[in-house]
Amino acid sequence: MSTRPKFLRIAVVLLLSLGCERGPDSGPANVTFSRDVAPILFQNCSPCHRPGESGPFNLLSYADAKKRARQIADVTADRYMPPWKPAPGYGEFLGERRLTDAQIQLLRRWADLSAPEGNPANLPPMPIWNEGWHLGEPDLVVEMPRPYSLQAGDGDIFRNFVIPLPLSERRYVRALELRPGNPRVVHHAVIMLDRDGVARRQDARDSEPGFDGMELGEVQRPGGHFLGWAPGTMPYAVPDSLAWDLEPGNDLVLQLHLLPSGKPELVQARVGFFFSDTPPTRSPVLLRLGRKDIDIPAGKSDYVIEDSYTLPVDVDVLSVYPHAHYLGSAVEAYASLPNGDREWLIRIDDWDFNWQNYYRYAKPVSLPRGTTLHMRYTYDNSRANERNPNHPPQRVRYGTQSRDEMGDFIVQVLPRTSAGGELIRRDFARKWLRQEIDGYETLLKTDPDNADHHHILGIFYMARSVSAKAVWHLREALRLRSDFPEAHLNMATALLSSRQPRKAEQHLRRALELRPEYGDAHLNLGMLLGRMNRTDEALDHLDTAARLLTKLAGEISALTANVRQQRSSRRPP
């Protein structure tokens, strides 16, 4: 009698421990590929894990999946796959790719059971994917002029490619779709527009296609829109009313983050444009919150930056784009409504620069005037952060290179009225300028001999009409680097506003010695000489400017007409 209960108890313990090894109890005990796993994979994995797409192997069949059963269980449990960074419940976005906890447990259980196939008759139908362009046949397709050959080496590459756009008239773009060409090495892409030929000049510096670097300087995001590509993201068409314009002479700049595969690869991306026939009636505004006074001590694991901005008008938030580099560890942003409520805009608990993306709300987030937008980023500059590019950790400040840090939170808003649009643009420009000046003053404290920083500060002080400070910083920039054509040009402008035309003329002439085809310098010198009544010389420079700055043709021809009239009115009858 006394021994039987003991046996029973042992048997119960054994059963419990078997249960534990199989993981938490949820879902059917007998998990098969055909009935249970295939529906999850087809829906969430196969769109990228199929030939021609970005997944590095296929997940289309039982054989494909069985060969990676444990790997699938691990990467989904980590939520590394499918790649989707925002935390659930902190903003609802289009294209969300997230498995449920039950799905993740089911994949683990299937791997633990040695990946049984089950009855193939239970397989769901394979989805039918749109081959080629997702949005249909584009109105215009452009391609990188030459393929880029990516070496087999092991580092990440950031390379910018300039694609001239063959346009004879202004077009309005409602969608753009990138086909990366070699999606298995293109990790993500940022797409910008160059309206001034800056990127073309950078590209010309070496004979290889494109140029290196992470930041694109003066190149812009067109008309208040984010354009980019990441594995698995679907292209998105805006309503015609929000289309953005392309002008003849504009270049597309593709910044590709390339991750070598282990063998030499060729990359030649294509971009398809989808046009609208009518000009836009409204335009979104990009509000760039963030800090430039970032200064993270070596080893600090919880460095925090914050910024905020109070909306002067009612807006709808369409999308957001968080940006930090490799030390960034967490991103939080929310709106404080006038009634005291908090509306989360986004939260990313494990920021990963490699998976940066822009996020478009499933429904625009309506925020009334008086709402304050807040951003709070955390950085980990300790040894424990594997992504830390410095070993051992170093003090890291704001900068655009990958070893520097950034902390931008760009919010795309659509003001309710066009008057509201004007108001928020002006209001935000004041905040932005204040912040830029503070940021660059901070940067100069630790790096007082940086000519670029002096140059930019000179421009910002000019924008705030503080000419004495503007002239001082531009003089510093030129003392540190005398062959700096842009600084000579801006110095001339600063000197003109403090009524020193002779000195201004010398700087413009110096800028043209340094860069004879500098359209802006010809234009400014033409205007200055016109004002000094040296009309013949003025007309020469305006002609050259008209040739170089085609997009300003209208304005320049009006100026030219004025100078001609001025010349004829001075002539004796």
Binding site: F57, Q71, G155, K263, E386, R387
Partner: protein
């Protein structure tokens, strides 16, 4: 050790004949690199594996690429070797006999045998990957090279095993 390893009847060369990797390099340090052609992590390591093999070639270290996917036929292996620029000899471990012998878990993973045929290290090549999702831009610890330097200097490596990150070999059974 020699007798054990010569029992590996299902380790095949690219013409399909059984091959004893250790007998070929008797008296030499031998490195086995476990790989498969469709594992993105082991593929990304190709230039590094070749670099380390080249560095130690003059010191008499023999490298073998061990393909662990039984579905990869010799033609697929040849094609993979050419595509990834490998100039190393390859073998196919069709029944995971070498996997069992070394205890390797993933691709890529390295096993180092000293000149008397004892395994002195098995694990990651370096610490570039801490997890699928946690990648260093450059390694700060190169475990395979450290192990080879130690064994050539007549020492044991500081650790015998280091967890590697990659594609599970057990998934191929």
């Amino acid at each position: 050790m020699w007798t054990t390893t010569s029992q590996l009847s299902a380790v095949l060369d690219l013409s399909g004949r059984p091959i004893d990797l250790f007998d070929q390099g008797r008296g030499q340090v031998t490195v086995l690199i476990f790989i498969r052609s469709d594992c993105p992590i082991s593929n990304r390591y190709a230039p590094e594996v070749q670099r380390v093999a080249d560095r130690f070639a003059t010191q008499g270290v023999r490298f073998w690429l061990v393909y662990v996917d039984p579905d990869e036929n010799p033609q697929a292996v040849e094609r993979h070797l050419a595509e990834y620029g490998y100039s190393l000899p390859a073998a196919r471990d069709t029944e995971h006999q070498l996997v069992a012998l070394t205890g390797a878990r993933v691709t890529p993973e390295a096993a180092v045998y000293n000149s008397v045929g004892s395994m002195v290290y098995c694990g990651r090549i370096d610490n570039r990957y801490e997890g699928f999702n946690r990648r260093r831009s450059a390694p700060t610890k190169r475990d395979l090279e450290d192990a080879l330097e130690a064994v050539l200097a007549g020492r044991d490596p500081e650790v015998k095993r280091r967890r590697a990150v990659g594609c599970y070999i057990a998934d191929l059974k």
